[in-house]
Amino acid sequence: MIVVNIIILSVNGSRYSSYGSGRIAIFFIAPLQKTVNQSVQFLKNIWSHYFFLVSVAKENDNLKKAINHAIDKNNKYREIEISNFRLRNLLNFRKTMPNRVLVAKVIGRDRSPWFKTIIIDKGKSDGIEKGLPVVVPEGIAGQIIDVSCNYSKVLLIIDQNSAVDVLVQRTRDRGLVKGQSDGRCLANYVLRKHDIKVGDTVISSGLDGVFPKGLRVGYISEIVKRNSGMFQEVTVTPYMDFEKLEEILVVLDPPKHDFVSEQ
């Protein structure tokens, strides 16, 4: 029987023949195979895609973190760049100042629209005294009005209690600049006869005994000449935006005036 079996196998092995049964088998089995195969493929796809999505989600999270980190870093660099520019400006201005100055950072502001003061991070221990002038590259910022050990309060020139003796740079006419509630200043006691124009630069005269002479205060933005009166109403707009003040310079050795009369 074994021998007969081997002979049949060897005869059939030389040429393929299923005698039609193959077709029947395929007819019945193949659809099942197909369905099962599709199901397996479907499950395989879900399985592989599930893991794939998890890994993608993880990758996505990592990428998001990396982007946030990069944005944060970029922002820091930009901030450094801006402050570098600002400090360079301040340094250049400092070099032009004949007086000894101290750089201070603004750490607080008065929120009231009626009073314009700031708090800086330098105080008595840094050599600051009450009454010292505060300047920025754009011009005069204000005056120290209160000093603690490490902090000081600065009255800005736009405060209503502030006054600076000034000169119109072009004509050398004098006036007294006082702060207004709208962030601008009013130059008082400018005589009607003085030929000043809108756009003229106003500088400190140095006669108030507080601010060094020649520092910019602002520019004339409006002139009103009434029909009567000795003076004209002159509005002075400071060059700097006081809302954006971040660093300032405190003049440690302002020019001193001896007002005691010699008798």
Binding site: G108, D110, S112, P113, W114, F115, Q160, N161, K178, G183
Partner: protein, 174 residues
Amino acid sequence: MTYCFYICVCLCLVIFQTTIIPHISLFNNFYDLLVPFIIYLGLFRSARESIPFILVLGFLMDNLSGAPFGLYVTTYFWLFIIVKLVIRYLHARNNILLLFIVAAGVLMENIIFIASVSIQGPDLQFSAITIRTVIFQILWAVCTGFFFLIFFNHIHKKLEKWFNEIIAEKTKII
């Protein structure tokens, strides 16, 4: 405990309004955040407990601000007194009252400031920007003041409850 709460809240408010708010342009015209706190004290707390704190708070603000010394003490003190007088006739928990009382407080603070500034310099001109700022402050107060009052009251009550529970537990242990 109560004073600790007052000190913490006020420090947070003062620091927030002098350092953080100036950097947010949306809040350029925001009102003095201590006003709702003073009003909260007037509405919900006793005068004996609140007045010493209000005086200290006013003193602190006078020192931080460029205002004439004593202006904040005066403002906060009178604000507190007026709130106390108001709640004599109106119910303190009336929602309409809570909605407008902070705005009224902000208006009152600004009126006192204007009066003070006018006394110093009678030739002063109030610009459109200043008037607009005051109007915006009042609008902000109408929109947010109510929530501040509710928030202060809620936090204070929670803290008091928590503190009383701790004390009760300790007395049980003893």
